[in-house]
């Protein structure tokens, strides 16, 4: 299930790294290995937001609970406790309830993002053409939010 045909379409090195990881046999594990690259981690967060919004906005919100249970059970992770609530909090935070995920530790966020991005955006979850479009959209979000005028710190220092 290689994604090599799409690698050259990503604009950034981080994007290519993520596409490469998504093309591997175990995408969540491969994505987690990108934790050393701040740019890849940043892009992965935006990819998570894009993927979650495309998957869940406009749907019955209880689908999120069902999806999380399904995913965690498939990954042989505990699906009836805190991890499931944190995963649901992350998804709902991305679609408009940001306060829900305030208590989720950074490391756990990254772990859950790897699992959910690996699940939501890789084929057959998304066709390979759409996958490139998702990464492209995530790259645009990174570029938009990282512009100096959009940086909170930059504004404060002015």
């Amino acid at each position: 299930m290689g994604q090599t045909g799409t690698l050259d379409k990503a604009a950034t090195a981080a994007g290519r790294l993520i596409l490469e990881a998504l093309g591997e046999e175990r995408p969540a594990r491969s994505l987690s290995r990108l934790s050393d690259s701040p740019r890849a981690v940043r892009l992965l967060r935006e990819l998570f937001t894009v993927a979650v919004r495309r998957s869940f906005v406009g749907r019955e919100p209880r689908d999120i609970t069902r999806y999380v249970r399904d995913l965690l059970e498939y990954q042989a992770l505990p699906a009836g406790g805190e991890l499931a609530r944190e995963a649901e909090a992350m998804i709902r935070a991305a679609i408009g309830e940001p306060e829900l995920a305030h208590g989720v530790p950074e490391l756990r966020r990254f772990e859950l993002i790897c699992h959910m991005v690996g699940d939501l955006v890789r084929p057959p979850g998304a066709p390979s053409g759409e996958l490139t479009a998702l990464v492209d959209q995530a790259e645009q979000r990174v570029a938009r939010f990282d512009r100096p005028r959009n940086r909170v710190v930059g504004r404060r220092s002015m």
Binding site: E25, R26, P27, A28, R29, S32, R33, A51, R54, S55, R59, P61, R62, D63, T65, Y67, V68, R69, D70, Y74, Q75, A76, L77, P78, A79, G80, G81, E82, L83, A84, R85, E88, A89, R92, E97, E99, L100, H102, G103, V104, P105, E106, L107, R108, F110, E111, C114, H115, G118, D119, L120, V121, P124, G125, A126, E130, L134
Partner: protein, 232 residues
């Protein structure tokens, strides 16, 4: 993009756990602060033991007769949801300490604003509060109530009782569980459970605008159900 359906079609083995630190380690430092039950303060006897210990050679301590005007100290037992022995139950009347505490909480009159009473709470009291919470939830919501409506009520309740620092999603999950939905409510901290059962009950009673008689009836019903559960 549609929801991923690959779990029935992909046919591959699930991924093993990520090579990340153990969840226990992840919790350290980053967890939302939850109130840990405080260690009980040392008994006054123990604190002052040294000061009050008679010096060697001092005269023996004289036992004073009991002061008839001083009220008897409260029973040393925990706050209980059990009917005191020999007490008849009146229909629609609150009969237990736990029930009376819940009414105080609902009327914003409880000694603690953090959700849980200062002293010990026994299992029967927890049971009464959990059942009362379930009754209030089912009076307020239908099982198919839109999640947005539930979330709104829960968010309002959590903000009303902000001092208790209740985790909002845990509270919402407990409400949905009380409506019969299959949701992840495992490993919720005991103090959070207690806080949600008491404080959300209070908010729901307020939202339902329950009068005194209705509130008493609801709590008495919870007491009866709790008693019946024990009797089974």
């Amino acid at each position: 993009m549609k929801k991923n359906r690959r779990r029935s079609s992909r046919g591959t083995e699930p991924e093993p756990a990520l090579p990340l630190p153990e969840p226990e380690a992840a919790r350290v430092g980053g967890r939302r602060p939850r109130r840990e039950p405080e260690a009980p303060p040392p008994e006054p006897e123990a604190v002052n033991a040294g000061a009050r210990r008679p010096r060697r050679g001092a005269e023996p301590v004289v036992e004073l007769p009991p002061d008839p005007l001083r009220p008897e100290p409260a029973a040393m037992g925990a706050l209980s949801g059990q009917l005191p022995p020999g007490t008849p139950r009146g229909a629609g009347l609150i009969a237990t300490d736990a029930g009376r505490y819940l009414r105080q909480a609902a009327r914003d009159d409880a000694p603690s604003r953090f959700g849980s009473p200062d002293g010990e709470v026994d299992e029967s009291a927890r049971r009464v509060w959990e059942i009362a919470f379930g009754l209030a939830v089912r009076r307020r919501f239908e099982p198919d109530t839109a999640l947005a409506e539930i979330s709104r009520t829960v968010a309002t309740a959590v903000h009303e009782h902000a001092a208790a620092g209740l985790p909002i999603l845990d509270a919402e999950m407990l409400v949905r569980a009380a409506l019969g939905e299959v949701v992840p409510v495992g490993d919720i901290d005991g103090s959070v459970l207690l806080g949600v059962h008491l404080l959300l009950f209070a908010s729901l009673a307020d939202e339902l605008a329950l009068g005194d008689a209705e509130l008493d009836q609801l709590i008495a019903e919870a007491e009866e159900k709790a008693e019946a559960l024990v009797g089974v």
